[in-house]
Amino acid sequence: MERIQKIGIPRGLMAYRSGMLWKEFFEGLGYECIFSPESDRRILEKGTGRAIDETCLPFKMYLGHVMELIGKCDTIFVPRTGGYRTTEKMCTRYEALPDLVRNIFRDEQVNILTVSYDWYNRTTEEKVYLELGLSLGKTKKQVKKAYSSAKKHQETRQKNREKAQLKLLESEKTRVLLAGHPYVLHDAYMGGELVRILENLGAVALYTDYVNRENALKRSYEFSRIMPWIINREMTGATMLMKKKVDGIVIVSAYPCGPDSLVNDMLVRRLKDVPVLNLTLDAQSGTAGLETRMESFIDIIRYQKAGGYGNQN
């Protein structure tokens, strides 16, 4: 492998779940690590220009982020994350990710750093990182140390988020749970807008991925025994855990997400006792439509809380 000093991480897709873990892992191994900038309209447009028009919004955004990194680092980290278990897979797009990026940017000849695992490999996260570190020419000891320290940091970060969210639950304001994939909810251009609108309306936003992951995952098996996707599991599990504690739920999906198209339909069928707004984000240039829908949703919640629709339960 040629000399790599600087590794680029596109700020899209699973970077919103494991990005900091990757960064600290690489830094622990002595590399410099950069993220692409926060998402905005320009990045989305760049990505859309190279994507097949039917692909999902987050993927178009991801391509934009990859393009931001081209020429700014020695290699771009695009892992192939299939999942660790049959009922905790990722959507098939993650299986295709490195090959997709390689094929789409064939003319640019981007250098891609990747590691691959799949649900039928019966591997563990630690083994995957070990493989990645070894492929970079580091020793086993170095890799293990970098991984365990990065993992520890990630766990504390997640714990802090969970704690902060629990505190928010005591808030006097209208509490709205945003249920969706982390890379939609926390993306500055997609979910970021939603949070801004909610705050302007005097409501607080809670996230499904800031709920304890193990608990959510466990709860999701009561929702469905065979649902194959881990992100949807965490999302539905967390929604089920939180539904009694919040005033309303906004199910956020990005058009046209495959797993969401089926799972969210099921979720809406199961959530009968709490106000639900099913929101699909698209590459629209204005937010007026979003604002109207959120406003009326918040109005409905407040009206109901004030006893407007009578006591339903």
């Binding site: 098939t92 299986e95 997709l100 691959s116 797993p259």
Partner: protein
């Protein structure tokens, strides 16, 4: 007169092209249960399916849901839905819920729950459908049913390869339809084999008139839509009417019993290092194969929003550039009319024929 009451449970699967006949054989001869053989799908099936499906669920979800609703209406006691490696794995659970909410009270078996499970579980399931199950007969029935699927694939492939060049119009179709009719009614392996041999012999005896510039088209794409004629609006039939020879590697035989993804990956390593999704390897491998064998064009078929097949498109675009082979991309949802498809296919075919003439 003796009155025979049929107390066997009636099983139904969603329609899946001509494989319905093989499934019927397995259920009737192997499981010794009843089978609801649905008539060919109509516009009503598609309407029923899309009315009760989520908006951007993929087209196969809507088609299969329509089939299942029609099957309950036709008196099925047990509905069976399968599982797979993409969204298909979740079809069963959601369709079950939708049918419940619609008020249908029949049993629903979701094979996704048994996938990757033990043989014992499968046998228990079979025993549940028919308590008087004869395991030996069941295994033989499955084996013969699979053989029938293989024969259907072989005759179908021969039909689409040659019928475009037939000397007498309709001569291939006649043999093909007769064969399908016999598959629909076959009750033992001798009947299956005899019908297959008859069809093969009859087809090889038919006269052909090969045109000056014969056009060969390879069809690749997503598992259900590419195989199910109703879903792809009789794409291959339309192509042979235009006079092309149509090839399709993707069928049940090749997908489940012959070719393996692990043996295909090395062949396509130039384009994809890893498996990119459930049938993506098949799609890329056969497209590359058609390109290398000098086919005139490739048609890529998928349902709207099918993630794995969408991810194959950038690779197909590269193959198209490298081998100078035109690719037509078709994305299906629930269409009301096929005029649009006709126009596109005609233009594609004319382009291929002309290209061949000019390059000669």
């Amino acid at each position: 007169m003796e009155i025979r009451i049929d107390d066997r449970k009636k099983v139904a699967f969603p329609r899946f092209n001509h494989y319905d006949y093989a499934i019927r054989y397995i259920v009737e001869q192997g499981l010794e249960a009843g089978f609801v053989l649905l008539p060919p799908a109509t516009k009503e099936t598609a309407d029923l399916g899309s009315r009760y499906s989520p908006d951007y669920a993929c087209a196969p979800f809507k088609h299969t849901l329509g089939s299942l609703i029609e099957a309950v209406e036709a008196g099925a006691d047990i509905l069976v839905e399968t599982g797979g490696l993409c969204r298909l794995d979740y079809y069963g659970e959601l369709q079950k819920e939708i049918l419940r909410e619609l008020g249908y009270r029949c049993e629903f078996i979701n094979l996704a729950e048994y996938m990757g499970g033990k043989k014992k579980e499968w046998l228990r399931l079979a025993k549940h459908i028919n308590p008087k199950l004869n395991p030996a007969k069941f295994v033989t029935g499955v084996y013969e049913g699979v053989k029938m699927a293989e024969y259907i694939d072989e005759i179908e492939a021969a039909y689409f390869k040659n019928a475009g060049f037939e000397a007498e119009e309709g001569s291939y179709k006649k043999v093909y339809r007769q064969f399908l009719l016999e598959m629909q009614m076959a009750e033992n392996k001798n009947e299956i084999r005899a019908a297959y041999q008859k069809a093969r012999q009859a087809m090889s005896g038919l006269a052909q008139r090969i045109p000056e510039n014969p056009v060969r088209i390879g069809v690749v794409g997503e598992y259900y839509t590419v195989m199910d004629e109703h879903s792809n609006q009789y794409l291959q039939e339309k192509l042979i009417r235009l006079g092309a020879s149509v090839h399709r590697f993707m069928n049940v035989t090749n997908c489940h019993f012959r070719a393996k993804a692990s043996t295909m990956l090395p062949k396509i390593s130039e384009y994809a290092r890893y498996s990119m999704g459930p049938t993506t390897t098949w799609t890329i491998n056969s497209a590359l194969d058609y390109a290398k064998r000098g086919f005139d064009g490739i048609i890529h078929v998928k349902s709207f929003g099918c993630t794995p097949e969408l991810d194959a498109i950038p690779v197909l675009q590269n193959i198209s550039r490298d081998y100078h082979i035109p690719v037509l991309y078709l994305s299906y949802d629930m269409q009301d009319s096929d005029t649009g498809l006709d126009t596109r296919l005609e233009a594609f075919y004319d382009m291929l024929e002309r290209k061949k003439k000019v390059l000669q």
